[in-house]
Amino acid sequence: MSALVELKNITVHYGMAEAVRGVSLALAEEEIITLVGANGAGKSTILKTISGTKKPTAGEIWFRGKRIDKLSPEKIVARGIAHVPERRRIFPYMSVYDNLKTGAYLRKESEIGPDLENVFHHFSVIKQRLRQMAGTLSGGEQQMLAMARGLMARPSLMLLDEPSLGLAPLMVAEIGSIVTEINKQGVGIILVEQNAVMAFRLAKKAYVLETGSIVLEGDTVELLNDQRVKEGYLGI
């Protein structure tokens, strides 16, 4: 099984402070993996480093056999990596439809018809709200829009940062099943979550981060029985 994306010994700094230290991980085609850990453990920084909005100070990132850690975010998204950032970050003073168009910014407008249909298939609520100002959507709808915007880039890898944050349990469950659906269409997913219960259910493999380093990794089924994981992250 060839890796879709592979991080080799990635270290990232904010100024003098080290946010991520020597992280290596790999994701196979069409797989879901999850990064769990407390606030400030470096999860979001890892996603930003993959999408190129943060540059690593050491290490390499390979995507489909090509090195990408020196590329601009623009080149990275063009290669098929879509970043759905933490706290939705939709464009609030733009219509829902325009938000979707930003996701497909680098693609020809004549090509995006099928992608819109795909988005409406996953998120039926979005179709009814196309003309609405995105900032007026509910939290759950904004999360759906953020994911839909990501899909409009037609990615083969989606970086999902805390999609469950601040959402009601019912909405979390719905987001979870949409993540599975998207993955079944052949999109690899790196899921960052504080809601480890949800993350472990969706992902095949998990990496546990503490203060910028991976302290534990393995199949989610096995990790579920790990005492440290149970106590620290699942609250069992």
Binding site: T53, E74, V77, F91, D98, K101, Y105
Partner: protein, 286 residues
């Protein structure tokens, strides 16, 4: 106040208002998207006026072509300023402010050196006056208003309907996410600053044909534009339009009634009031 006098003052106010709108739009776009204040905006306006005079009056270039060329030249100057003078210091607010102040003085003294300090009148190309109901407006002023309105509509459509406009809105609202989806900040900033310069130049070119051009002609309109975007809401396009028209009307009415100096005092007093009691202006967000 007599009805005719009222109508005449109203029409003058709208005419001057639209030129303020153009100027303020440029300033507010640059502020809203690039988060900086362009203190050289008035001098870009002045260059717009001077290039029209220089091309049309000195080099006999066709009038319409002269206006188009003047606007394009100043937009290109805007592009160069952003690319080579502002980009290296982006995010360092104090340096950016000093740079634009320095640029403003640079252009003012350059214009004085090259073209001299005296007023230059751009000859009238479309002489004549329309009169109705006792109100008179010169063709020249009417043309300035029509071109002004056309530019405002054009700008609106550009921002709302084109891909570059989509990127401008995205970069304004969340530059980091815009970058994630391939909307380059550098490209957008170049476009925005050039567009801002273009609008200032268009305003100066149209105003120059109506009044006169000289090296300091930009100072007063620039100060008024600051007041306009405070009134309308910094960064807001509808705000710049409403604010420009309001200030144009205030200018016209107060100067007809009380003289031009009092009119100035009023405009700035209104600005103080907004800064204290409604700092986000009429259309500001948040």
């Amino acid at each position: 106040m007599e009805l005719t006098f009222f109508l005449q003052t109203l029409i003058n106010g709208i005419q001057i208002g639209f030129l303020y709108v153009l100027m303020a739009l440029g300033l507010t776009l640059i502020f809203g998207i690039m988060h900086m204040i362009n203190f050289a905006h008035g001098q870009l306006y002045m260059l717009g006026g001077f290039f029209v005079w220089w091309l049309f009056d000195i080099h006999d270039v066709n009038y319409v072509v002269a206006i188009l060329l003047a606007v394009i030249i100043v937009a290109a100057i805007g592009f160069i300023i952003e690319r080579f003078l502002l980009r290296p210091i982006r995010g360092q607010e104090l340096f950016v402010m000093c740079m634009t102040i320095a640029l403003g003085s640079f252009f003012e003294f350059a214009a004085r050196t090259v073209w001299g300090p005296l007023d230059k009148a751009i000859p009238t190309v479309v002489p004549g006056i329309i009169k109705f109901a006792g109100v008179a407006i010169t063709y020249e002023r009417l043309m300035a208003v029509i071109v002004g309105i056309a530019l405002v509509i054009g700008l609106y459509l550009f921002i709302q309907r084109t891909k570059a406009g989509l990127a401008m809105r995205a970069v304004e609202q969340d530059p980091e996410v815009a970058t994630m989806y391939g909307m380059g900040i550098n490209r957008t900033y170049s476009l925005v600053f050039s567009l801002g310069a273009l609008l200032a130049a268009a305003s100066g070119a149209l105003m120059g044909t109506v009044i006169v051009v000289n090296p300091v002609m930009g100072t007063a309109p620039m100060l008024k534009s600051f007041m306009i975007i405070i009134l309308g809401g910094m960064g807001s396009i509808p705000g710049a339009i409403a604010g420009g028209l309001i200030v144009g009307l205030m200018d016209s009415f107060f100067s007809s009634l009380f003289g031009i100096d009092i009119a100035y005092i009023f405009v700035f007093a209104v600005a103080f009031t907004f800064i204290i009691f409604k700092p986000r202006g009429l259309f500001g967000r948040g």
